[in-house]
Symmetry: D3
Subunit: 118 residues, 6 copies
Amino acid sequence: MSDIVQEFNDYRQKMNDKLLADNNKIIKRIFNLDTNAYMEGALDVKTKELLGLVASAVLRCDDCVKYHLETCYKEGLNKEEVMEALSIATLVGGTIVVPHLRRAYEFWEALEEKGQGE
Amino acid sequence: MSDIVQEFNDYRQKMNDKLLADNNKIIKRIFNLDTNAYMEGALDVKTKELLGLVASAVLRCDDCVKYHLETCYKEGLNKEEVMEALSIATLVGGTIVVPHLRRAYEFWEALEEKGQGE
Amino acid sequence: MSDIVQEFNDYRQKMNDKLLADNNKIIKRIFNLDTNAYMEGALDVKTKELLGLVASAVLRCDDCVKYHLETCYKEGLNKEEVMEALSIATLVGGTIVVPHLRRAYEFWEALEEKGQGE
Amino acid sequence: MSDIVQEFNDYRQKMNDKLLADNNKIIKRIFNLDTNAYMEGALDVKTKELLGLVASAVLRCDDCVKYHLETCYKEGLNKEEVMEALSIATLVGGTIVVPHLRRAYEFWEALEEKGQGE
Amino acid sequence: MSDIVQEFNDYRQKMNDKLLADNNKIIKRIFNLDTNAYMEGALDVKTKELLGLVASAVLRCDDCVKYHLETCYKEGLNKEEVMEALSIATLVGGTIVVPHLRRAYEFWEALEEKGQGE
Amino acid sequence: MSDIVQEFNDYRQKMNDKLLADNNKIIKRIFNLDTNAYMEGALDVKTKELLGLVASAVLRCDDCVKYHLETCYKEGLNKEEVMEALSIATLVGGTIVVPHLRRAYEFWEALEEKGQGE
């Protein structure tokens, strides 16, 4: 099967590099903020990643969901925790979140498969 | 041509099965509610499917639109009725709905083609 | 109690008059389309008003919900039918629709009270 | 000053009672799900309340934000934790979240004032 | 009549002061970005304010619309230009933008009245 | 590489033709309004196209963004101006706009490549 995790990361990295090489300061600073916002503070990194995941899911942004799923996976969150967060997103955001839930589930499976192969 | 109806249904079914085999009760119950909400009640099934279609269209969820288009088709609603519902969605939701309208129209045509071949 | 129906209609009418007296053709034509879209066609007026109501509810526009509730009421739709339409909106749009559902219910009660007093 | 916490809770309770006394099963079951989704599971209640808060904030639902702020307060989350969650919501959801952030801050202050007076 | 411009500015200023006195760095930096983004660059200030106005209108954020209307007014944009921008917002965002258009029109009138009184 | 500009235009044209050949008057008139709204008026065409671009970006409609990027390109707007408009969209709409920004950047590059080849 095609590696949907690698594919997502490659495109994301390539275009982020271009955006950052471009001279728009506002965009650069938003990217910078995006890194800082998820660092440990009053809340730990795991909680913040779940917050990012749920925010992305209710706003129905597949790429944002994928990004946070990957970080959640790297931070050691398990499937049950991630699914519980996504169930809240589906309840708050409604059944229009369901198609994104299907794709999120598929991406999480790909992350787990990839993880086992390492 | 590729069968966009079959492709949509296959992926949807495969991932729904996985989500339901997973142990999250909230998600299971949302799926269950989703089945009940469109059953005949004070309003008939056709009207409810059109409501689901318009809700999906203004929220710009292509997969939700496809699902309700297929159910509308099976319930015997005709193209003119469906397009009238979608025209209200486009007026209420604005021109950003138009790209979804293009994909909805293509999907409806595929449903009709498939229906004639049966 | 204050008459929330009258209050809503008065403000709406006053500002619509101003917008239409202003010289912007695009806005005038959108207003005109808005009148035509809900007229009887392949679908009857009741169905169309329910479609407008559900579209307004999932997009969480209180004023749009109020407007369509009033038209639904005038068209003779009953509370059970309207609530069924709104239940679909709440399922599709999620629990963030609930605060709008509370206000919709209050407005419908005001419409019924007003109707009985006539 | 007027008690914005009490005012919010009174209206919410009054209308929820009416909605639940009404006979729509879908709405009743969504209300029921809403209670269950935030109970302790793989994730603890505090984390889930923060997820509900952030979902509500990015979807810009003032009443939902107020509800979750109150539950966060009762669960013993402190202002710094809540503000960190809201800062992620503002980054993900953009500056259009800022007006809701202002009202959220005001509501949190009211919760703290009320708490000290008890 | 009550001064809706003053009322809006007073509340906004009071709560912004509180948010900035609070110690959340992400929020402070978003506020800072918000100031920089509308400064003259490749595009002039008037164009940028219209962009902010239209973004606010299609996202249906009344407070954001009011803020940009006031800046547009101060920058010397006239009513016809502002209405043309808002007509694009209404077309792109659909008739659910109309209630916000009514409030925007009322706010613009208040700005003009206030301006004449100075 | 595949020509993403041509691909987009071909599908868009094909489906728009079908929608306009269909007999729904509301949809036809919305299409017609869409042409008129971006014509020179109190605001010039360049400004209006930037307004359309920003409205599309904050509402996260990739196809609408592509359409306005192409018109911006044809109207002679340069990359710096377009990126500045998109930076405002990203600030107002939040980091969920970033994936759309990546795709917008890629599309603009394709427009420039194509333009040089002419």
